[in-house]
Amino acid sequence: MFRASWRSLVQHKLRLVLSVLAIMLSVGFVVGTLIFTDTLNKTFTDLFGQTTTDVVVTPKTDFEGLGLAGEVPTLDPGLLDEIAQVPGAAKAGGAVFADGVAIIGADDEPLGQPGAPQFGSNWSDDEELTPYRLVDGTGPSTANEVAIDSVSAEDGQLEVGDTIRLVAPTGEVEAELVGVFRFGTSGNLAGATIAAFDTETAQNVLLDGGQGFTEIDVVAAEGVTQQQLADEVTAVADPDVTVQTGEEAADQAASDITEALSFFNVILLVFALIALFVGSFLILNTFSMLISQRTRELALLRAVGATRGQVTRSILAESLAVGAVSSVLGCAMGIGVVYLLRWFFGTFGLDLGSTPLQLEPRTFAIGIFLGVAFTAVAAWFPARRASKIPPVAALRDDATLPAKALTLRALLGGVQMLAGAGVLVAGVASGGSSGASLVGLGVLLLLTGTITFSPVLATPVARGLGYPLPRLFGTVGRLAVDNASRQPRRSAATASALMIGLALVTALTIFASSITASLNAAIDRVIGAEFIVATDAQRPFPRSVANEIEGLPDVSVVSRTTFTEAQLAADSIPAPTGAEEPPTTFVGTVDPSTVADVINLTFSAGDLNDLTDDGVIVDTTTASNSDLEIGDEVEFTFASGSAQFELVGLYEPAGFFTGYAITNQALEDAGVRIGDTFGYVRAADDADLDALKASIEGVLTSYPGVIVQSQAELKEQVQSNVQTLLSVMIALLGLAIVIAILGIVNTLFLSVLERTREIGMLRAVGTSRWQVRWMVVLESVVIAVFGAILGVVLGVIFAGALQRTLADQGIDVLAIPWPVLVLYLVIAMSVGALAAAWPARRAARLDVLTAITSE
């Protein structure tokens, strides 16, 4: 029995090429992503392993958060001497290391990727106490000297001996570049820039003149283990510090960074799985067609005594072999994918050095398992049908698989779609995060329901779409429409693959344009300021920026805001139990005396006059989600400690301006050192706005990275940011769409093989090669457009439902870019024609005599 499977595989290998390719591509991306993640982990574990001392002491913070708004907790400088004197310590060094020092390149722009940290640090010449390894020049030793990482030096075209500019929240520094270094073996630290000063300058720049350290690094004496040293240090240190062995600290640092980067890997994996799912439709079609072509052979096996189970198993065995071969090829391809990802991350300034690829057996096990499992499950359906071939079919001339009615499919699919629609509506109705998960479930049900139901739609939709074809292309058009609708399951499975990709692309497109439209509307509605001053990554900038702008003529008001992250506690919010982390939230700050001039907030209870330095306001949605009422006590825990606030006002959510807000002064009182994150500038009534903008820009020339935007420019930036994200997502969906296109090629190719005699007969009675070609191309276009229409319709439904659900979280406008959706349909049409190129050519090239005499 299995010999028969094997022979049939070898015989049909050409027919399986595209199935193998589809599985291979998907598995390749899964494997590539996993190898990349492992290599990333290894890179940083090694990096911090090499660069971390035996014991690391850091301040214990109440809440670390994302390190926003420049809070830098420090250690008492006296602690360094105490620690250096413990018997197990060979030596100890104090480090200053914090985010917030931008290096300005030769083109006067800050270096590094938007959003990536810009570290400032102190310099130590002792390589045992510092991760920095000079590659050029010397270390900085005076206030006028600085050293920077080698990637920044290269990107910024900065050379030793240049005078360079650096910008910190405390102000701008000019210094001579005296050295260029690597971080351990890596050119920089995971894409972040690093500028190193002598210790006193680092303290001035990063700690605003404080004397402390952010970290104390201790090297063990001969024969002292990390743990012994850690115990000795703990004994002398005060309880407010954290003492870690080098190993623990390195692990933590590495996992912090890889966790931050893993977000992207998770997305990659999700998209690879979508591609695999799409690929399974191709497998399903391939095996269905192989089986229908082999009906007589399988019936013969049954006639000579093979059981149903044996027939099913023999086909499953074939699929397992196909899955295994493709997955192994996919694993090999995965290694190529890693290089692709490396290059991609490299373009974002992430230097991954020369760590060898981490080829874990687990990676290949997962890749092969997924590939084989998806193939086997997809082949199981046709395999079961094959087992229903009656033995007598072997004796009949016109042996075909029994055509099953679509009633069951219609019923199952219909029920799923109805259930999906119901859940979707319920989700939209209930809103919020529970609503969003209901919407997710509804989307999934609607999608699987449509896939199940699609064969029922295939014939009428193909006929409807194909309606003009006979008029445009005559009999050839007629035959194309007939061909597209004569095997509804096959056409539907082929179209479904494209549908999935297009539904996601459409939903993302609509969602993106809805976000843009909502934010634009919010900007119009909420922002009363003519100009907004900020950095492109929303990092804080020095207070002097707003001070200087306030001094400009024609400026009526400058109102500052910033935000930070805090842990949240209130009577109405359940306290965390056990190991659970308390909930965290962003806390915005405003200047209550001026904010009303620049941001239009509508209060449903209380108002800005009630907002004193011990008060907090919150939007009504957040308040109702957390059961908060006016007068309630809310406690925020910042890095520097906790503070209580009384809820004094409830405002309507205003686009991006939502959540908790306290006063600027209150945050400073709570010990959070702060710059400004936004400066809203209100011009005087009769001001010349262009001139004003120019003079604000004049102020900002001393603050690289800080930009001023009009409302229109802000909208453009919002749009371009959203567009960039959308492009990346669509590019990632490209894999699934490529596989769906392969699926169309595959279906047409196998159909052409299956209809060899029919095509031969058409040729014999006078159909020209071009007519045969057109017939296949038009069939392909009909199938592709069928899938595209289903996809676009589902996409519109998905995006609409999601937007309605998130309406109270700021996405309150549904913007459907119809021209883009029409463009997608046109692209699908062209893709259909393109996919047909090879099968159509093959069909046209069939030798008439061979075709009509072939079995």
Partner: protein, 252 residues
Amino acid sequence: MSVQSNTIAAASASALSKIYGSGEAEVRALDGVSVDFAQGRFTAIMGPSGSGKSTLMHVCAGLDDATSGTVSIGETNLTTLNDGDLTRLRRDRVGFIFQSFNLVPTLTALENITLPLDIAGRKPDQQWLDQLIDMVGMRDRLGNKPNQLSGGQQQRVAAARALVTRPEIIFADEPTGNLDSRAGAEVLAFLRESADTHGQTVVMVTHDPTAASYAHRVIFLADGQIVDDMDDPTAERVLERMKGFDAKGRRS
């Protein structure tokens, strides 16, 4: 042996050879065959398996090319035609009936009959079409798809399709091979009638003496050569002649 006819030839072959393989494996499917198919006559080509009868028909119909020799249909020399010319020739001047799988499964009986015209983008001659439909007796099944028709009905539709363009010549390859004797007889009677009443030239390959007996003339092929030529055959005479080949075949 060369066979000449004194009426006008609808198609003719001269010194046709078709050789497959070379050296030890060389097979001469046709070995210097010259034959005229007279206009308005129903000619059967008979011979045992491997005699080259199907190859002769395929070459004469322009479906296959000869190793040497020439073939013409009417005044047209097929040997000089390219694929496009051959396609048009088949569409406009030649009709085909195959042993099986003659019809497009997605088209109705009527659409199958008019297929060659539809492909050419021409309107059928309604009177001729009606006449044909009645001749094949398919008037009440015109809207049916092939899978709703019996084998005999399908073959009659195929025969009507072959005639619909009023071709100069119809080639039929074992048209009754898959039919029972009654259905076969209907198809054969139709082909004979089309020759007798409409002057349609028909060339049919068969190995069935009864089928051959419907023809005006039978040509016998063996080992790629024409070995006999019989006018006004009967099933008995053809069978008798075939037995000779079998005996000879057994001796060699």
